[in-house]
């Protein structure tokens, strides 16, 4: 066993012991109260490769990576870095040993500039020991130039869109010039354009001999970027293969232990009357003149590049940020939606895109999270909540959505990201909406659950619900929608019928 400080010194001297594997993990176990997150897991990372980690939500991918990044300590098992045993007791240890990680949830300081965020703890100092801001901004500009990111280093992070924040996280991780780079679902907030950009960065890093661990739920990415992949299921290691050896279906079988034949079970359902009609909806400075109709049973897909204003339209529709102009009509009757309360009264539902900030009540339990929207009218008599009925319906919903949890009294923050997402979908389905707005409904969701959600949405449509679905995943939009509306820089650039909607058409409208 070598102490991290010695290891760091060895690494600094360049006398790195040669070994085939950058990193090997054997027999790791990690338990959380009531959950075995990892059970006798092994994992190896070769230098100069991209190694994808696959597995359903809650399989333990993030947990293993957090162990490698020094955030959790394993209960059992050993970790070797370049053939040498190490023990990582803090994130600093990991960083000093050349392990950097992009976390599944964004981890930036909103009120600090991009440069300050990237170089935190490693700020360049001048002769007098003061932080040299000019140098820091210059280094950031250099880094951005290398990665071809076009952002001003002096912008504050709170002014950035989610996608740009993700790019900053990526740049920050790269800036550590580590040997091992862990990326936990880096593309869940990105559209294809940024994804492609990220892949050039990854290829470049791989060429430099860096080992990259890449976690994703997007199958197509796997074949595009990964050299090898390992599959986890229920905290157990299933196997490792070269990505050239297998097919998509093989992987899914390994992940979920069963067949999923159809990802987007689009069914033709009878389309009814216009339910939601939006005319010239405008939010000053953000988007303008957005007009569209959705009929009962119809799924309207909303595509566009990151920052095109799709989420803003959804928020305005739901009264989170009331419109500055335009009209909304439901069943032909004009309505005022100036708050989410009003929206819910009109039987709208809105799954937000950022489940941490605007979705989960993190410290509350799953049932409390699921029931909150429905308590406005249902299940309440004289102010008192009908606990039994709520508990029963929440449990039904959770079972229907396959929320993986011992019971509904578990805190939602202890669920894996995908299961949190399912619980939130359950929150809105409990309200039995007529108009369902979904903003990136399958972000961070595994293939099995994704199919499940798609099936659910389709089923809802069959019962006459009008669905507006924002998604940055092209196959999802094309596969699910009856019509696709495309936005660019706050304007609707076109609405395509299912028949005419192709990837190229949509991209054209999105990029103008």
């Amino acid at each position: 066993m070598i102490s991290p400080s010695t290891m760091a010194a060895v690494r600094a001297s360049g006398a790195v012991p040669k070994s085939e594997y950058l990193m090997t993990v054997t027999g790791v176990r990690k338990e959380f109260p009531g959950v075995v997150a990892l059970d006798d897991v092994s994992f190896r990372l070769k230098r100069g490769t991209v190694h994808a980690l696959m597995g359903e939500n809650g399989a333990g991918k993030s947990t293993l990576m957090k162990i490698l990044a020094g955030i959790y300590q394993p209960d059992k098992g050993e970790i070797k870095l370049r053939g040498v045993d190490i023990q990582l007791t803090s994130p600093l240890d990991a960083l000093k040993n050349g392990i950097a990680m992009i976390h599944q949830e964004l981890n930036l300081m909103p009120f600090m500039t991009i440069a300050e965020n990237i170089w935190i703890r490693r700020e360049p100092l001048n002769r007098f020991g003061f932080v040299d801001h000019t140098e820091m901004n210059r280094k950031t500009a250099d880094l951005f130039a290398r990665l071809n990111i076009k952002l001003d280093p002096q912008m504050e992070v709170r002014d950035l869109s989610i996608a740009n924040r993700q790019m900053v996280e990526i740049a920050k991780a790269v800036s550590y010039e580590s040997d091992v780079l862990i990326m936990d679902e880096p593309t869940s907030a990105l559209t294809e354009r940024e994804v492609a950009h990220l892949f050039t960065i990854i290829r470049d890093l791989r060429a430099q001999g860096i080992g990259i661990v890449y976690i994703t739920h997007k199958m197509n990415e796997l074949f595009e970027i990964a050299d090898e992949f390992s599959v986890f299921r229920d905290g157990k290691y299933i196997g490792t293969h070269a990505s050239s050896d297998v097919t998509r279906d093989d992987i899914i079988r390994m992940m979920v232990g069963r067949e999923i034949t159809q990802m987007f079970p689009k069914e033709e359902v009878p389309i009814g009357e216009v339910v939601l009609s939006v005319k010239n909806l405008t939010l000053d400075g953000v988007f303008r003149d957005v007009s569209f109709d959705i009929r009962a049973g119809e799924i309207l897909g909303l595509a566009g590049l990151v920052g095109s204003g799709r989420s803003n339209v959804a928020e305005t529709l739901f009264g989170v940020t009331p419109a500055s102009a335009g009209t909304i009509a439901i069943d032909g009757k004009p309505v005022t939606v100036d708050s989410p309360t009003a929206a819910i009264r009109h039987r709208m539902a809105f799954l937000t895109e950022d489940r941490k900030d605007t979705g989960c009540l993190l410290i509350l339990d799953i049932q409390e999270n699921m029931q909150i929207a429905v308590l406005q009218d249902k299940y309440v008599k004289g102010g008192f909540v009908d606990e039994k009925a709520v508990a029963r319906d929440c449990a039904d919903m959770a079972r229907k959505l396959r929320v993986k949890t011992p019971n509904l009294q578990e805190r939602i923050e202890n669920l894996s990201g995908g299961n949190q997402q399912k619980a939130l979908i359950g929150r809105w389905l409990l309200t039995h909406p007529r108009i369902l707005i979904l903003d990136e409904p399958t972000r961070g969701i595994d293939v099995g659950a994704k199919a499940e959600i798609h099936r659910l949405v389709t089923e809802l449509a069959r019962t006459g619900v009008a669905v507006l679905m924002i998604s940055s995943e092209m196959p999802e939009v094309l596969g699910m929608s009856d019509r696709v509306m495309v936005m660019h820089e706050g304007r609707v650039t076109g609405i395509l019928d299912r028949a005419e909607a192709t990837q190229i058409k949509v991209m054209e409208l999105a990029a103008q």
Binding site: F32, P33, G34, V256, G257, R258, E259, I260, T261, Q262, P265, F318, V320, S339, P340, T341, A343, I344, F350, T352, D357, T358, G359, C360, L361, L362, I363, L364, E368, Q371, I372, A373, L375, Q376, V380, G383, F384, V385, E387, A395, R399, R402, K404, T405, P406, N407, L408, Q409, R427, A451, E452, R455
Partner: protein
């Protein structure tokens, strides 16, 4: 087409893990403190600490006003806010309420024409004044979005000013027996426990309670889920103000007088009781039962000091230590259970 899913549906959920109520920790701390006093009592004073009905009463009696406030403060803290104004509101409402509770036999009645009124009038006035203060707090916070710390700090300073201004600093005495009655014997304790019970139920079993927790856990998500945060916060602060008003009434009735300096620093004791009782200052977590236990800890501590004849100089020093220690033990035990 559709997948074979049923076969893989998750197994029936395992029986929910039995969770111990979070108040258990702090209840054990309370028992611990009491037993330490009991032991020390036999060693140093040669008598029992607990086997003394008079002491058992005063232990709770002396903190019942703090407790009434703390019930309101708990709700405010669960929303993620804070209320620094409660102590001053106690002073202010004591003055207002006492001023219409004077007996005609008292030579210097403030409103000679408003003497000998039935006790309900001063009680209602005190509660109403507290309610108004609470509504102002709530409106300020909900509408202007200033931090609760500042809104209630402003109220704290202003309300104290109002209590002094109201009678130019003169105490208000000569209150009717009917009014004083709610301050005698164990009535303050009963008021405290009834209030605690009501809001325990409200927090756990009503929509009001669910919304309170939701706002504290994540205000943005609560808003998107259709909760009108603004109006709910006004309610919560209004209730806190109302309870501070009630506490003011009880204080005046207990002392059989009201003076502008009443209730100074009570807000800190109430917050301490709340946090000792397991309510988290970051919001979303907390229970009235915990607050009641926290309040009783403060009372036991004080009685114990006198009982053990602890030098007054050391009392404060030790009180600070105990507040910290109680919370440390709670945090530590909760962490241990969690990992």
């Amino acid at each position: 087409m559709t997948t074979k899913v049923e076969a893989h549906a998750p197994a029936a959920p395992p029986a929910p893990r039995r969770r111990l109520p979070p108040e258990l920790n702090i209840f054990l701390v309370l028992i611990g403190i009491a037993l330490v006093y009991e032991a020390l009592g036999w060693i140093f004073v040669g008598q029992s600490f607990l086997m003394n009905p008079q002491r058992l009463t005063i232990m709770i009696l002396q903190v019942s006003v703090i407790g009434i406030i703390a019930v309101g403060v708990t709700q405010v803290i669960i929303t993620g806010g804070i209320d620094l104004s409660s102590g001053s509101v106690v002073g202010m409402t004591a003055m207002f309420s006492a001023s219409v509770a004077q007996a005609s036999t008292w030579p210097r009645a403030l409103y000679p024409s408003l003497t000998d009124l039935p006790a309900i009038v001063p009680i209602a006035l005190g509660v109403a004044v507290g309610l108004i203060a609470g509504i102002i707090n709530g409106q300020l916070i909900a509408r202007t979005k200033i931090p609760p710390f500042i809104a209630t700090l402003g109220m704290m300073v202003s309300a104290r000013g109002i209590s002094k201004w109201y009678t130019k600093g003169q105490p208000v005495s000569g209150l009717t027996d009917q009014f004083n009655f709610i301050g005698t014997g164990i009535w303050p304790v009963i008021v405290f426990l009834v209030v605690a019970l009501i809001f325990h139920v409200a927090l756990r079993y009503t929509r009001y309670g669910k919304f309170t927790y939701a706002i504290g856990a994540n205000p943005q998500a609560a808003r998107v889920s259709g909760i009108n945060i603004e109006s709910h916060l006004v309610k919560v602060y209004a209730i806190a103000g109302m309870l501070a008003g009630l506490a003011g009434v009880v204080t005046a009735a207990r002392a059989q007088t009201a003076q502008a300096g009443m209730g100074v620093m009570y807000e800190l004791d109430a917050i301490a009781a709340t946090v000792i009782g397991g309510t988290s200052l970051t919001g979303g977590v907390g229970r009235i039962t915990g607050t009641v236990i926290g309040t009783v800890i403060l009372g036991v501590m004080t009685s114990g000091f006198t009982f053990l004849r602890v030098d007054a100089y050391y009392q404060e020093i030790v009180k600070g230590l105990i507040i910290v220690a109680a919370v440390v033990i709670d945090v530590y035990r909760q962490k241990k259970r969690k990992v």
